[in-house]
């Protein structure tokens, strides 16, 4: 029953969209295509492979950039959270770079790296690295000292305490960072592709804009929205599997 209530508003929205589109309330029908016209274009773009090709380009960039940024971020965050001296050494640098929006790096990276595949991957790496470092370090630091003391008195080595107690207990915090960045990486990628990269969903958006193809623009936005949603859900699911049984009670 709850699922019905969740779907119902979406159906109403789509119905209103279709009706408003068909009533020609806006000058020039192509500026406000109906939902069915967008669906037709979605099918068309999928069938001729344009959407698939651009989508795969974007997906590859996100997967490489997000995974490398997250792994590096977790590694750095664990070190900073676990060892005070490393935190002391790197915290000023992280604090300096963390507030810079990922897209702010774009002009500099265009000059340093050039316009190639590495550019969007680097942007996504930066976009995910800093928040994941921050959340991971916070998560590691906030593990209750009593658990560490308990593990110490039970004879655990430092490494065992880190891998068997501290990191598992920091998982909810780590996943918070990952979940947020999973969606954010798509948003940043699209922006980068719109500005500087000739392939990908962002580039397709810009081409559609230049051809005044509102239906294609909407298709791209729907794909973007879907991917942000799916990526965030994947991480939420992983979090639930790894920490769901106990995280609310830690």
């Amino acid at each position: 029953m709850e699922a019905v209530w969740g779907v119902f508003p979406v159906l109403v929205f789509l119905a209103i969209w279709e009706i408003v589109g068909r009533l020609h309330l806006f000058p020039g029908q192509s500026f406000f295509p109906t939902f069915s016209a967008v669906l037709r274009e979605f099918y068309h773009l999928t069938a001729n492979g344009v959407l698939g090709k651009n989508f795969l380009s974007s997906l590859t960039r996100v997967l490489i950039g997000l995974s490398s940024g997250s792994i590096a971020g977790i590694f750095m965050g664990v070190l900073m959270g676990w060892r005070h001296i490393i935190d002391k050494a790197f915290n000023p640098i992280i604090s300096l770079f963390y507030p810079i929006p990922a897209l702010g790096w774009l002009p500099l990276l265009m000059l340093w790296i050039g316009i190639n595949e590495l550019l969007p991957i680097t942007i996504i790496f930066i976009c995910s690295f800093f928040p994941v470092v921050y959340n991971t370090a916070t998560g590691i630091r906030s593990v209750d000292r009593r658990y560490i003391q308990a593990a110490e008195t039970l004879g655990a080595s430092n490494m065992r305490i880190l891998f068997k107690v501290v990191i598992p207990l920091a998982l909810p915090n780590i996943f918070t960072g990952l979940r947020l960045e999973a969606g954010m990486s798509w948003r940043v990628l699209i922006a980068a592709e719109m500005v500087a990269i000739p392939t990908g969903i962002g580039a397709l958006l810009m081409q559609a804009e230049s051809l005044v193809r509102v239906d294609i623009i909407i298709v791209c936005l729907i794909v973007l929205s879907g991917m942000c949603f799916i990526f965030e859900k994947v991480f939420a699911l992983a979090e639930r599997r790894l920490a769901g049984r106990w995280s609310a009670h830690a």
């Binding site: 110490e152 008195t153 039970l154 004879g155 655990a156 106990w246």
Partner: protein, 349 residues
């Protein structure tokens, strides 16, 4: 099992602390909140820095990290790992010591059986009751076979019935293991039941270390006496066995019949809250019931202390303020005095 010696230890409220805990004894530390009881345990386990020296079997362990001190801890907050089920929590110390898997399984199973928690193996700590959590934490601390066991208020925050049940189990387990144990509590009655010796801590210092018996009959100062509850010590002039387990004692004009397994009694300690006062004659036989005159009434925060003269003796009674308000007592008034038999302590002739 080692004896433990603290030499001139300072940490937080504790300043220049010296004490010795004997091999295989159950050493109970009592004291009010903030007296330094938990700090003492943290120093022995090594989870906190300190000044001074801790010796186990005569060897300094100051530079030995907690994981190598051979100390099992039951922390006040328990600190059960929330991400591990009961089995994994108990197995943690064994796995950390590189014990073979089959041995781990056997040891954990036997501990779960001893603590009667076999049915909880797959459960996570947050799904357990307070009593079950304490049992799991105790099994976990015992799993690596520690030489010293430190227990920080293991029965606190449990309802009275569960606490009593757990306390009895603890006594059985600890006596069975014969392990040097430091047991922290703020409950003197619990300390008496469980301890070979009791130490009273106040403001980071040890006021008295003695047997439970000496705590009541020979408090070293006013502070100990106050903590113990300023018992009424009665010297017996005569005592005879009425039947097996029943003794009649006479002290001046007072004659009492007490449950006692020995031959005769020389002295009795009566806690003030074991003396019941009433302005009307209580129903039932007049056994251990006297009349007295109220000498003094002192109101404390939640209780009221009444000094009563009975047969030429001065007895101190303490009752909750609510109970005091229900009866009408004033200085010089006659009152019925009933000695309750639950927590009397005796010195044998």
């Amino acid at each position: 099992m080692p004896d433990i010696r603290l030499v001139n230890v300072s940490r937080h409220i504790c300043r220049g602390l010296n004490l010795t805990i004997r091999d295989r004894e159950i050493f109970v530390v009592v004291g009010t909140t903030g007296a330094g009881k938990t700090t003492l345990l943290n120093v022995i386990s090594g989870v906190t820095d300190y000044e001074g020296s801790v010796l186990m079997d005569g060897r300094s362990v100051d530079r030995v990290p907690p994981r190598k001190r051979g100390v099992g801890c039951l922390f006040q907050g328990l600190a059960l790992f929330p991400h591990l089920d009961v089995f994994s929590n108990i197995a943690f110390g064994l796995q950390a010591g590189g014990v073979e898997r089959s041995v781990v399984e056997a040891r954990v199973s036997s501990l779960m059986e001893m603590m009667r928690i076999q049915h909880l193996a797959d459960r996570y700590p947050h799904t357990l009751s307070g009593g079950e959590q304490k049992r799991v934490a105790l099994a976990r601390s015992l799993a690596p076979s520690p030489q010293v066991l430190l227990l920080d208020e293991p029965t606190s925050s449990l309802d009275r019935q569960t606490a009593k049940y757990l306390r009895n189990e603890l006594i059985q387990v600890l006596k069975g293991l014969g392990i040097t144990t430091v047991f922290v509590t703020h409950d003197l009655r619990e300390a008496e039941e469980i301890g070979d010796r009791i130490a009273l801590m106040f403001n980071g210092n040890v006021e008295q270390i003695s047997t439970p018996h000496d705590f009541f009959f020979n408090p070293v100062n006013e502070r100990v006496s106050e903590f113990v509850g300023m018992p009424n010590i009665i010297e017996c002039t005569r005592s005879r066995v009425l039947a097996s387990g029943l003794v009649e004692v006479v002290s001046d004009d007072m004659k009492m019949v007490l449950p006692y397994d020995g031959n005769s009694i020389r002295r009795i300690a009566i806690p003030p809250d074991e003396i019941y006062l009433s302005d009307v004659r209580p129903p039932g036989p007049a056994l251990n019931r006297f009349t007295g005159i109220v000498q003094e009434i002192t109101s404390l925060q939640a209780t009221v202390r009444v000094r009563v003269s009975v047969g030429g003796k001065s007895l101190l009674a303490e009752m909750p303020a609510s109970a005091f308000n229900e009866i009408s007592l004033e200085k010089g008034k006659e009152v019925y005095v009933v000695i309750k038999l639950r927590r009397l302590r005796y010195v044998e002739s």
